[in-house]
């Protein structure tokens, strides 16, 4: 039986982004962009897609005197990530 993978999190960059957010309470857009090595627009689209599902929350703030965006994982995002990773592990276990 194929485990239920979350289609929103099947994109590796989104899985990476969500997993990175479990290490912090909140991270600045620029910090995430540098670690993901993607452009502003790509990250922005990923964040928008995840925010539309209620998986992440973004808010405007100020960092080092400039306006910025802070991203954090929501409780439902944390649950979705956990379920997705469990499904991935089941997929791996099925062939081992």
């Amino acid at each position: 039986m194929t485990p239920d993978l979350d289609p929103i999190l099947q994109a590796p960059a989104r899985l990476k982004l969500m997993t990175m957010l479990t290490a912090v309470s909140e991270a600045e857009f620029v910090t995430l962009r540098e670690h993901l090595a993607v452009s502003d627009s790509v990250l922005s689209k990923h964040v928008s897609a995840l925010a539309a599902e209620g998986y992440v929350r973004s808010r405007k703030g100020v960092h080092a005197g400039r306006r910025t965006t802070w991203i954090s994982l929501t409780p439902s995002g944390r649950d979705a990530l956990k379920a997705h990773v469990t499904a991935l592990r089941e997929l791996i276990a099925d062939v081992e």
Binding site: L5, P7, I8, Q10, A11, P12, A13, R14, L15, K16, M18, T19, M20, T22, A23, V24, S25, E26, A27, E28, V30, T31, H35, L36, V38, V42, K45, H46, H63, A64, T68, W70, V85, L88, R89, L91, I92, D94, V95
Partner: protein, 191 residues
């Protein structure tokens, strides 16, 4: 245009699943291990706690209005140090870790809270007795253990960031803060 990474249409097999998990976990480890503490972070927290214990114990023992001022000034010093250090961490890393505020600065880690309570209690008792020299000794010991506890939490966090990143529940912190405030009010009222 989005990169190929965004595609969700491709079939997902075990090897892709393994690679996706490994890649995501490695990104998380890199992010956590890349976070830096401002210089003299734990030391400054330990010193602020020691100052707070000395001023708090002495202030309570004086039982006059200057004692109240002393007690409040120690709390203000600690609050200022904590706020500045957290602000520096956030500015330095572009990230916020709730566990750092709760476990390291507010001392909600078991070792920190027990050592703080013991040191504060001992210092307060000593301030009422001829053994006043115990006040700074207890304060320094309390500050040192508090700082060591913070350092230990930081190492644990970097080893397993997902397990340790989250801060304390806001309600728990609010209740703890309210209890501490009530305790101080009672102490001041009884003097």
């Amino acid at each position: 245009m989005l990169s190929a990474m965004e595609s969700t249409e491709q079939p997902f097999g075990p090897s892709e699943a393994r690679a996706a998990i490994a890649d995501a976990e490695s990104a998380r480890t890199r992010l956590a291990s890349g976070l830096r503490l401002p210089s003299f972070f734990h030391g400054s927290v330990g010193v602020a706690i020691a100052v707070h214990i000395v001023t708090g114990a002495t202030g309570i023992a004086r039982q006059d209005s200057w004692g109240t001022v002393l007690l409040a000034s120690g709390l203000v010093v600690f609050a200022l140090v904590a706020a500045v250090r957290l602000w520096q961490f956030r500015r330095l890393n572009g990230a916020w870790v709730g566990g750092l505020a709760g476990q390291v600065l507010l001392g909600t880690a078991g070792v920190a809270s027990v050592s703080y309570t013991a040191a504060f209690g001992l210092a307060t008792w000593a301030a009422f007795t001829p053994a006043w020299w115990l006040v700074p000794v207890a304060a320094v010991a309390g500050g040192a253990v508090y700082a060591w506890s913070g350092q230990r939490w930081w190492h644990r966090y970097q080893g397993a960031p997902a397990e340790h990143s989250r801060g304390e529940n806001g309600v728990v912190l609010a209740v703890a803060g309210a209890l501490a405030l009530m305790f101080l009010i009672v102490l001041v009222a009884l003097r």
